[in-house]
């Protein structure tokens, strides 16, 4: 139920922050999504969408960090093996 699907904002309609909507592409499938809870979201941003509402703008920098920790772990393993 708490599933949220990432999609890319293609266009935004409306100026009122709490009621604006956007067309969001989920790998090519385009749906209208409420953007009232992501007032800073802009065209081109990826948003997590749950029951028709965007609940967050996906932070791409943070998304890459998962591989950063992986790098740290591998470095630590190599260090242990050298000992």
């Amino acid at each position: 139920m708490c599933l949220a699907i990432p999609g890319k904002i293609l266009s935004i309609q409306g100026d009122e922050p709490m009621t604006r909507k956007g067309r969001v592409s989920f790998d090519g499938v385009v749906k209208e999504v409420h953007l009232g809870y992501v007032p800073d979201a802009q065209i081109g941003d990826y948003v997590n969408v749950h029951v028709g509402f965007a609940i967050s703008v996906i932070n791409e920098t943070e998304a890459k960090e998962i591989y950063g920790l992986l790098g740290e772990m591998e470095a630590a393993t190599r260090k242990r093996m050298k000992k």
Binding site: M1, F53, E74
Partner: protein
């Protein structure tokens, strides 16, 4: 970056699994809160790759599963009335009430519409001004802002034929109920990434400290889950009991403020009954008095409807992590997704359905 495929990278997942093996030297029990995480663990077989010392318990984070039977009976009553259209998320229509489910009411002519979003129910209300439209608004903190927005929009549009049959639950009080029970086996938690996307994770800091139980806010893709387990085990091994955020691409400490403001405006925190578990203090949301006109229970005077729990179903124990689905004598025999005894076998997030789908059917 692809936000799904990049997080299913098998070689990266294997490296995290290897790292979990390297740091684990004693038994730990970890509970993932969200049913979506349960399904992902089983779907990708991640639980089987973890060290045998790590035991996963599946938490209560399936809103369909914890919606009390009497709410379903109330929905069935409403759907059986000639002048009412009941709108529901698809998962709810096959959950057994005391005597039947919503789908069987629909087959007898009940006007039930399956909708994707609460605002779809608003559209139906606008299109049918001579009918009463009730939205069966269930969910955790993730879904509550959408349900709340439907109420605000109904108010703005002066829709007097729209109301909400509400069953809204909150995660942190349920975690505390599990941790404070005498039978608790959980050492650490993977918190639900999308609940925290809305609420942030400051609520979990006092819980982690009080019960000395690390909490890792975790996403839903395989790489998220193995990293969540790694961070949780690392804290347990180091005797740390803090809150860590694995799902940083969506979750901030303070969460989604506009959504929280809407929740505060529309809802108040109340004691809430959870199916199979009972009443957990201050664990639910009910409409504020100023929105009483949108409360279906008041509008249609549903207080007289009571319910019977199926005594054969162990879902309450499964939801608290006290039993695994396959430990139930009815699992896969008298209880299957086609003929479920309880909600955990119905929902696409229910633990019993996950075990049946990925372990029995393969």
């Amino acid at each position: 970056m692809k936000f799904d495929r990049d997080f299913r990278d098998a070689s990266a997942v294997k490296k995290y699994i290897q790292a979990v093996h390297e740091i684990t030297d004693q038994p730990w029990t970890i509970m993932e809160i969200c049913g979506g995480q349960t399904h992902a663990f089983l779907r990708y077989g991640i639980d089987a790759l973890l060290p045998e010392e790590i035991s996963l318990l599946h938490g209560p984070g399936c809103p369909v599963c914890v919606t009390p039977v009497e709410k379903i009976d109330k929905a069935i009553y409403l759907a059986s009335q000639r002048d009412i259209i009941l709108c529901s998320f698809g998962d709810m229509v096959r959950v057994p009430g005391s005597d039947e489910d919503l789908l069987s009411v629909k087959s007898k002519g009940g006007n039930i519409r399956i909708v994707y979003s609460p605002t779809d129910a608003l559209t139906i209300a606008e299109e049918h001004p001579h009918k009463q439209v009730v939205f069966f608004g269930i969910g955790f903190e993730t879904t509550a802002p959408a349900n709340a927005m439907a109420v605000l929009q109904a108010e703005a549009k002066q829709l007097d034929n729209f109301s909400l049959l509400s069953s809204q639950v909150l995660v942190p009080p349920a975690m505390e109920a599990i941790l404070s029970s005498g039978t608790n086996m959980v050492n650490g938690f993977l918190a639900a990434g999308h609940v925290c996307t809305v609420m942030g994770y400051h609520e979990y800091i006092p819980i982690a400290e009080k019960y000395q139980s690390p909490v890792v806010v975790t996403g839903f893709e395989p790489l998220d889950l193995v990293q969540g387990v790694y961070l949780c085990v690392r804290q347990l091994q180091d005797k740390c009991f803090g809150v860590e955020n694995q799902y940083k691409r969506s979750v901030t400490k303070e969460g989604n403020r506009p959504a929280q403001r809407t929740l505060q405006k529309v809802y108040k925190v109340v004691d809430q009954k959870w199916r199979g578990i009972g009443i957990i203090p201050q664990s639910g949301l009910a409409l504020q008095d100023e929105f009483a006109q949108f409360d279906a229970e008041k509008k249609f005077d549903l207080g007289h409807i009571s319910a019977r729990e199926n005594q054969e179903c162990l879902s309450g124990l499964v939801l608290q992590g006290r039993n695994k689905p396959h430990e139930c004598p009815n699992f896969g025999t008298r209880c299957t997704p086609e003929h479920p005894l309880g909600a955990t076998m119905v929902s696409s997030e229910g633990a019993c359905a996950a075990y049946y789908r990925y372990r029995v059917e393969g």
